[in-house]
């Protein structure tokens, strides 16, 4: 993974000093709340319901074991012994004290980490495929380009006060595991007709209040033009994006209002001035960064490992875990392991200091000392030998990270919701837990197969509910917490937005609702038919009938009286 040189380190160290000064000036009253807010947000610091929340950047989801141990240390020393991995591959601490935040940042800086631009109306942490560099279906490793974008976007002087937040994701595999269609800019690393690395640039995707799929604004941008083209897009957005209404301020609205052709023409006109200028990438810089992302010293191993095969036969539970939590690796004899942070009874994405330390140990012993975070809020050991999988499984069980549910119904994606977040309309965590408890039969879960349930506590859509096969959105109805349900959403190449099935439900109804939807699917599906395909084939009606069942009229009446 990328290692800071003295300049990268100096920039992060100077940031710590700058933020320490800003915090001291705020505490002394020299800096007012309105003046401090954008500054602390650009450093990932929110004032939440109970305490400040600090969001720490994990660039494109990559961590070393040293960094994971530091996260454990921070959870222990400054927080209540745990952290929460987010849907954008970052980690949040929910209980730090404001005056200690500069100390946390100083500790993070010692392991090449920071909280720069993890919130605020600026370019946020760049995200990518959690299996980048090892995926069996990868075309081009996106990590060097994600790192280049990290550096380009860090303290970009022109784009620190954008109309709204700005998120970039980079994907380099056939399958899109980075949600590029739902980002302000999505980038696909591709080969152009001559076989050179190029970028397909998508713009204007996003979830939130107005979910929209991104549009291709440039099909094959030659790699040297990456920064100048991004500068052109951001400049058009910074100058012409709406600032009168925060709900219409994302770039997706500008693209929609101008129309894609007009937007592209504006970008091209701007780019004509920037193209081939000083910000044009050099091959030397691409090579410098790419050199940090070369393969580790893989052993030469047979594809089939006899011990591994024997364990599969002998241990049904292990076989199940392999079926769900082990991902195909490009290198023969290796696999990528997903550690599930979705054990029933634990908030999705939460990890304790002891668990983090244990994961760091696992990474050191079995996976070249590296860990990745997925936007599904799980942790990944990307380079495990097949012959070690049984040992990794046993160790993962002891730390509670071996739930064999990756991609299954209980692998729920959820924001922190109303338990922590001051923006939320409703809680997310208790709904996730109620659903997980209802589906406690592993055989049934495996029979149901791949189902993505996404829960957001409000329209900001941090739980990406629009792209859940079943999406759950917390809404406020006259002061009471209700939940609106969508079905048919999906991410990846076949990305689609879910459709609302009808009136919202109360919190204690949600497990029943999901159970009825699933029963409907199981009853109607053809053999091996995925939930989405069944939903597409039979339409919304059977699902609606199962959950409303002549009660719809009554429910509307109830809601009206809440």
């Amino acid at each position: 993974m990328y290692k800071y040189d003295s300049i990268d380190q100096q920039i992060v160290d100077e940031r710590v000093a700058q933020f320490r000064g800003q915090t001291e000036r705020f505490i002394s009253g020299e800096l007012g709340e309105d003046e401090f807010r954008p500054l602390r947000l650009q450093n990932g610091l929110y004032i939440q319901k109970h305490a400040p929340m600090l969001r720490v950047a994990i660039p494109y989801g990559q961590l070393s074991s040293t960094q994971v141990r530091m996260l454990a240390h921070i959870a222990r020393k400054y927080d209540r012994g745990y952290g929460h991995f987010t849907t954008r591959q970052n980690i949040q601490f929910n209980w730090p004290k404001l005056k200690r935040v500069p100390d946390i940042l100083a500790d993070l800086a010692t392991v090449e980490m920071h909280a720069i631009q993890t919130s605020g109306n600026c370019i946020r942490n760049t995200t990518s495929d959690q299996f980048a560099g090892v995926a069996h279906d990868e075309l081009i490793d996106p990590r060097p380009y994600a790192e280049l974008i990290r550096q380009w976007s860090t303290f970009h002087p022109e784009f620190a006060y954008l109309p709204r937040k700005f998120k970039i994701a980079v994907n380099g595999a056939i399958e899109d595991r980075a949600g590029t269609l739902f980002h302000d800019i999505g980038i696909h690393t591709v080969n152009d007709v001559a076989g050179n690395v190029a970028f397909r640039i998508l713009v204007g995707g996003g979830l939130g209040r107005t979910p929209i799929l991104g549009h291709v604004v440039r099909e094959a941008l030659p790699k040297q033009h990456l920064f100048t083209y991004l500068d052109a897009i951001l400049r058009v957005y910074n100058r012409f994006g709406r600032r009168d209404n925060m709900y219409k301020a994302r770039i997706k609205i500008l693209v929609k209002e101008l129309g894609l052709e007009k937007f592209r023409a504006e970008v091209d006109a701007e780019w004509a001035h920037l193209k081939d200028g000083p910000a044009t990438l050099t091959q030397a810089e691409i090579d410098r960064v790419a050199a940090y992302f070369v393969d580790p010293d893989y052993a030469v191993l047979p594809t089939i490992d006899a011990g591994f095969e024997r364990h599969l036969v002998d241990h049904k539970a292990f076989a199940r875990w392999v079926e769900r939590n082990v991902f195909g690796h490009k290198k023969s004899g290796y696999a990528a392991v997903t550690l599930s942070l979705k054990k029933t009874g634990v908030a999705p994405g939460d990890a304790t200091d002891a668990q983090l330390d244990a994961v760091a140990d696992l990474a050191d012993e079995f996976s070249y000392g590296e860990i990745r975070v997925s936007h599904e809020q799980n942790l990944i050991l990307a380079d495990v030998k097949k012959r070690d999988l049984f040992a990794v499984w046993q160790r993962a069980k002891t730390i509670g990270f071996a739930t064999p549910n990756i991609g299954l119904l209980t692998d729920i994606i959820a924001c922190p919701g109303g338990d922590f977040c001051s923006l939320a309309n409703a809680k997310s965590i208790p709904v996730a837990e109620a659903i997980q408890r209802r589906f406690d039969d592993l055989d049934y879960l495996f029979d149901i197969g791949d189902i993505a349930i996404n829960i957001s506590g409000c329209m900001n859509a941090c739980g990406h509910h629009h792209v859940g096969h079943i999406g759950i959105l917390g809404v406020d109805k006259h002061g009471a917490e209700f939940y609106q349900v969508t079905i048919g959403g999906s991410q990846g190449l076949q990305a689609a937005l879910g459709k609302v099935i009808g009136p919202a439900f109360a919190q204690d109804e949600m497990a029943d609702v999901v159970e009825k939807l699933i029963k409907t699917y199981v009853a109607l599906r053809h053999e091996d038919e995925h939930f989405l395909d069944t939903a597409k084939r039979v339409g919304m009606e059977p699902f609606k009938a199962s959950v409303y069942d002549k009660k719809a009229g009554r429910r509307e009446a109830e809601v009206a009286h809440v």
Partner: protein, 173 residues
């Protein structure tokens, strides 16, 4: 000359310009004037006849085309920030310095606070009328918040990657 202080080229100096408000319709006073954009355009003949320097001030979202031919020769342009979170003036500054070859004083006015100064200078501002209730000596410190930056900018046209001595992985300091 007023006793108002500004930061110019990294030094605190007395401001020797007078900024006229929007809607100013009286005769122009003597001295160096900063005139609102629409008046600058509508009373151009009058201004040209003056022997003293005239600058112009505008909002970050104002269209530059009406004065595009004049920009290169102007001694001063001020960009007004109604709120420090309105970032449009940053792009306008870049355009003035790069697209319009503006070499004169580029001044930030309005809600100009310490913690924005570093970025403002990077995009091309060299003068800062720090908001009156803030300590200008304190604000000056922000210009040295960082000693290095990644991107190309007006104050450093070569991006870091064109200046960075390349390290092999593992040999990084």
């Amino acid at each position: 000359m007023s006793d108002t202080k500004i930061i110019r080229d990294g030094v605190i100096v007395a401001d020797d310009w007078v900024l006229l408000p929007t809607g100013y319709d009286a005769a122009f006073p003597s001295g160096k004037l900063i005139v609102p954009l629409n008046i600058f355009v509508s009373r151009q003949a009058e201004l040209t006849a003056r022997t003293e320097c005239t600058g112009v001030w505008m909002e970050g979202h104002d269209d530059l085309t009406p004065i595009s031919n004049l920009i290169e020769g102007l001694p001063l342009i001020a960009i007004h920030f109604p709120k420090f979170t309105d970032g449009r003036g940053y792009s306008t500054a870049v355009l003035l310095r790069t697209r319009y070859s503006f070499k004169g004083e580029l001044r930030a006015t309005g809600e100009v606070l310490r913690d924005q100064l570093f970025y403002l200078r990077r995009v091309g501002f060299n003068a800062f009328a720090v908001r009156a209730d803030k300590d200008i000596v304190d604000a000056l410190k922000a210009l040295t918040d960082f000693s290095e930056s990644y991107q190309a900018s007006t104050d450093q046209p070569a991006p870091l990657f064109r200046r960075r001595a390349t390290h092999a992985p593992g040999s990084a300091a």
